[in-house]
Structures are given as structure tokens and as C-alpha cells.
Symmetry: C2
Subunit: 357 residues, 2 copies
């Protein structure tokens, strides 16, 4: 499908091919910092109504692309659609993060879980992918995504966000077999989910391991990394230039980039706690890298934003043998609602202008 793209910079960078300038998109680029998003959200009545209506999900997916010359669109959805489809009852309390009505607290609850049917129980997601692809009309590629098995498990066991992840870590220590069963089911579901998004038209796929970084190294290597590796290995995604690139993003994954590069994923997303030069050296050209501007730079002045954008671009180049190939510019984490759209315009313009020199 990439032949028909008017802008394939993003996919070329993920394949580590030459590009005329570094492609850029921003995690949570469709969101509350945009007034037009807030209007759509008000019209829908709730975040979940917005995400579950393919036409409205398409509308908010496209909103940032109308403002900024971004090089990729990302499906508007939530990382917790899978456990919701498994029957845990996803909801959003006012002013709080996501929660589940029926969290999993023991092996018996975990044993009852099954992989949802993608074209019925998660049909709204696949329909959204199809509508967005049609409306994008080849302008830029569309990214599909999922939460990682470990990150899904965090929400499923804790029942929502957590300060110290005490419930799931207690399970990891006291009943590791039950937790591994949960991670197995989640992994099977993530693979099926990403495959279905690809079949529906997603041209790149990202896994968000938001909470891998709360684990000790031994626990990360037991409860998160092997399941990411299984996704990278088992997810069928084509060959050569038709291969759909897989991006593994993880907060706090800096110490594991070498191991993650060995999973077979095409790209790694890096947070802002590591110099991209070090990340490039640690992965040695085996993968493309996506990142890694500290999102709070967007609270700085336009001058500060331009300076920090250049620093990230140069850091990647310095660690990548003097070449900008294989870099997708992004933030190290998602945008926040109180950020200024004008500052996003400065960021995107500077990425393109500086990297084209």
C-alpha cells in the first residue's frame, strides 16, 4: 500500500532508508490541547463514545493533520480496548485515569479470560481504521497500536492507575504462574489485535509498554520483555518494503534497548531519560529509533523549542555515525492538555527545516 502514499517519509525512516527530512509525529497528537478536539469530545459526551464511534474517531484522528504537516496519523483509540472487550468494564471517572469495574485479583478470574473476537467485539476499532484510511486518502500513513501485555495487565489487576503497582507486584511475587497466564492471554490478544488492525489498513503498528519501567531489571526480563519479544516474533506483517513496521515504545526502557533491538521489531520508541546518541549506539543500526524530546519542552518558548529540537536531531545523528537515517522524531511521552498548539507548529516546522539541511 505504501506505493500510493503521497508522503512515505515515516515508513522509509522506519526501514532506515534515506529521507529528504526527518519525519515527525507526536504521541497523543490528537487530544485535549486542540480546541476542535474538545468540541468533538463535548459532542460525543465522553471519551469512550468518541473512541467507539468510527466516524468521530476518524474526525479527531485527522484534526492535528489539518493544522500541522505531520508525517503520520495515529488511530484515535485507547490502550485498554482489549481488556474492555474481555469483559472487565472500562470506564473513566471524572478527572481520573481509566478504571475497570471488574479487576482481576486471582488465578480463577484470570483462567476465565479469552482472546476477544476482533471483527465483532473490537469491530469498532477495525471500522475506525478503515474509515480513517479512506479519509486519509494516501496523504500520510496510519499507525495502529495496542498496550503491551504487561501494561494491560497492570490496569487489569490494579483496576486503574497506580502509585506503586503494589497489587500486581504482590501477584508477581506470590503467584507468578497466574500472572504469566494473564500475560500469555494478553499477548495472544495483542497479536490478534495488531494483525486485525493491519488487515483493516494500519500501515505501522506501535506497542505502548507504558509501565515496563516500574519493574526491577529481573522482573522486566521476566514479565515484560519476553512478551514483547513474542509479539515481534509471531506477528505476521509481510516482507521487504511491504512489511508493516512494528515499533516497541516503553517508558524507562533505556537499559534494555540492546535486548529490545534483538527481538525483531523494526523500531524502538525511546523516552527522554536517555540521550538518543547513546540509544543509537546501544542498538547499532539494527532498528529505527523514535523519539525522544522531553514533552515539557513544549512549555518553553519557541526559541527553547527550536534549540531542543535541534539537540535531539543532532544527538541521533551523532550516535548513528553522522547520518539522520532511521530516525522518527517524536516526544519521549504523550502530550498534555495544557500545551499550546502554536508551540506544536514550531516544533514540527523546526524538525523539518533543520533536518533538511
Amino acid at each position: 500500500m505504501s506505493q500510493t502514499l503521497q508522503n512515505d517519509r515515516f515508513l522509509r525512516a522506519l526501514r532506515r532508508q534515506p529521507v529528504d527530512r526527518t519525519p515527525v509525529w507526536l504521541m497523543r497528537q490528537a487530544g485535549r490541547y486542540l480546541p476542535e478536539y474538545r468540541a468533538s469530545r463535548a459532542e460525543a459526551g465522553s471519551f469512550l463514545n468518541l473512541a467507539k464511534n468510527p466516524d468521530m474517531a476518524c474526525e479527531v484522528t485527522l484534526q492535528p493533520l489539518r493544522r500541522f504537516p505531520l508525517d503520520a496519523a495515529i488511530l484515535f483509540s485507547d490502550i485498554l480496548t482489549i481488556p474492555d472487550a474481555m469483559g472487565l468494564g472500562l470506564y473513566f471517572a471524572d478527572g481520573e485515569g481509566p478504571k475497570f469495574e471488574r479487576p482481576l485479583r486471582d488465578g480463577a478470574a484470570i483462567a476465565k479470560l479469552g482472546v476477544p473476537d476482533m471483527e465483532t467485539e473490537l469491530r469498532y476499532v477495525m471500522d475506525a481504521v478503515r474509515v480513517i484510511r479512506r479519509e486519509l486518502d494516501g496523504k500520510v500513513p496510519l499507525i495502529g497500536f495496542s498496550g503491551s501485555p504487561w501494561t494491560l495487565a497492570c490496569y487489569m489487576v490494579e483496576g486503574g492507575g497506580s502509585r506503586n503497582f503494589s497489587i500486581i507486584k504482590a501477584m508477581a511475587h506470590n503467584d507468578p504462574e497466574a500472572l504469566h497466564r494473564l500475560l500469555e492471554v494478553n499477548t495472544n490478544a495483542v497479536i490478534a489485535y495488531l494483525a486485525a488492525q493491519r488487515a483493516a489498513g494500519a500501515q505501522a503498528l506501535q506497542v505502548f509498554d507504558t509501565w515496563g519501567g516500574v519493574l526491577s531489571p529481573a522482573m522486566y526480563r521476566e514479565f515484560s520483555l519476553p512478551y514483547l519479544a513474542r509479539i515481534a516474533r509471531e506477528l505476521e506483517r509481510g516482507e521487504g518494503d511491504d512489511r508493516t513496521p512494528l515499533i516497541l515504545f516503553g517508558r524507562g526502557n533505556g537499559n534494555y534497548l540492546g535486548e529490545l533491538a534483538g527481538t525483531g521489531a523494526e523500531s524502538l520508541g525511546v523516552d527522554w531519560l536517555m540521550d538518543l546518541a547513546d540509544a543509537a549506539r546501544a542498538t547499532g543500526g539494527r532498528v529505527a529509533l523514535q523519539g525522544n524530546l522531553d514533552p515539557t519542552v513544549l512549555y518553553g518558548s519557541p526559541e527553547a523549542i527550536r534549540r531542543e529540537v535541534r539537540t535531539v536531531l543532532d544527538s541521533y545523528r551523532d550516535g548513528n555515525g553522522g547520518s539522520r537515517e532511521g530516525h522518527v522524531f517524536n516526544l519521549g511521552h504523550g502530550m498534555s492538555p495544557d500545551m499550546d498548539p502554536d508551540h506544536v507548529a514550531v516544533l514540527v516546522e523546526e524538525v523539518h527545516a533543520y533536518s533538511a539541511r
Copy 2:
């Protein structure tokens, strides 16, 4: 003063001298997980009343030592006493973290700050140190402490805890000179504060850089590390076996341990996001290391606690050329109110029993 100690395991480990077993204390060992603490807290009426009354601060400092054979006591106080004494108005809203009535938002407010007088404005801290030393009567050493210049600045500028530290990071980008002035004043105050605690009787000193780990490497090296280094360099603390050891603890400091070991601090505190073997290799015997059990292991079963304690002890030994010398056992972060005192007993017992083999 160390000659008169009945148990000097902790100070010997900080000097990398041989010990009969690995010493152990726990960050936030005096706290809400103990029913006797909750009783003292209720009697005092508020956390700050407790911290500001030397006799009551002494009582809660000693409470965990009556239950567990810990190898050190730590002054019961708050990391934010310095900015409170500077006039920012520390308070604790119900169920929330610390807040300041008058946060610093610009260079003009920062220019007015001065180093508080230790024996008047912070006399309650020094009195608490003196009372605790008297009551400890040489049983174990007493640790004094302070927040780091950067961590104090975070609370002083944000006005409390923060999700993404947007206000202070905006200041770092838009007015770095003002932030550096603040960090200078804080550093002068921290040095004077730790010197005064030492003069009052503290036998070891710890700096808590709780929020250094939210910074990108470039920002950490500009806004946190140089000020920690200045404390390590300029804090007068004696020589040889009479030298009062300085411990630099930092969440997320794993990538900087080599640099931190070069500051002249006697010891580094390490969180649980790094194998202690790697930390020992990165610092190559230049400092003692303190840590680094994931605190949530205390939610596990006694069997899980014993296993994870042994893993931390062995990890240190493996990275330290087969020797346990130079290790102080601790958690990688503070204890939580919902932890079980019986589990703490298991932890302390296992550290001593296993390391004595």
C-alpha cells in the same frame, strides 16, 4: 564519636570496612505502617507538629528500633524544612503531599531568598538531633538528611508535587539563570543545614534527590548533578574514621552512578531499577552502595521477601568482586503506609542471617 557506638556496622560499611553482617535500615522506617506512629501522629495533631517537636520527633525516630534490630536510626523530619524556613509556608493538605503557600514563580521571588539561620529558624531540627542522640545512647548511629537542591527547587517552584514538572521545566528552558540562582541558594542552605546536623550529632548524612530522575541527561547534568557535587566537595565532615559519611540517594540515578561516584561522596543510594551488580561495577569500589530492594517486595509473602533479599545481597557481592563489603541494605525507595510490620521483621532478619554466612 563512633568509638562509643555499640553497633557501628552501618558506619563501617559506609567506609567499605569489613562487617560481621550487612547493615540494614529502611527509608521511611519511622512512619504510618506502624500503629505506634499513628498514635503519636494523632496525639501531635499533624505531621508538622510531630516533626517540629523534638521530643515527639525523637519518639517516632526510635519506634522502629524497638521492633526491629535495625543498624541505623534516621532523624524524623521532612525534606522540605529548608524552604519552609525560607518563608514559603509548608503545609500538608489532607490526603495530599506537601505544598507551599507561596511558591516561587519568577526571578524576583528567587532573588529575595536567603539561607536560613540554622540554630534559630531550624533549631527544632537541631534540637531533635540532640535529643535523639541522647536517647539512642550509642545503640546505633543517627542519620541526618536533607532534600537535594534540585528536589527542593521542584517543590518550591511547582508549589507541591507534580505530574510532569511543567512549571520548573519551563523555567529551566526560559529563564535558566533564575533557576541556577535558586539552586545556588538551595545548595548553600543544604550545606549549612547538613553541617549543623553534624554539629548537633548526626553521624551520617543523606541527601535525597527524589526528582533528579525526571530530567533528561543534559538537564540532570546541568541542574542536579553539579549541585550534588558541590555539596560533596564543600561540606566539611572530618577525616579518616572520624569522617561523617555522605550518602547521595537519587531515584532514577542509575545512569549517573559513575559520575556521582566521582563527586567525593562516600556512598550512593540506588533505586530498584538497576541491578546492584551493575551499580557496583559502574562505581568500581570508589563508594559504598546503599539499596536496593523494590519496596513492593514487602507486599509479597515471607518466602518471597527472603528470596528477594538474598537476590539483592548476592547481586551486590557479584558486582563487588565476591565481597559484601561496602553494602548497606535498604529499599530502593521509601516504605508505604499499608505495609505489614511483620514483613519488615522478616526482611531485617533475613538480611542479617543471610549476610552472616
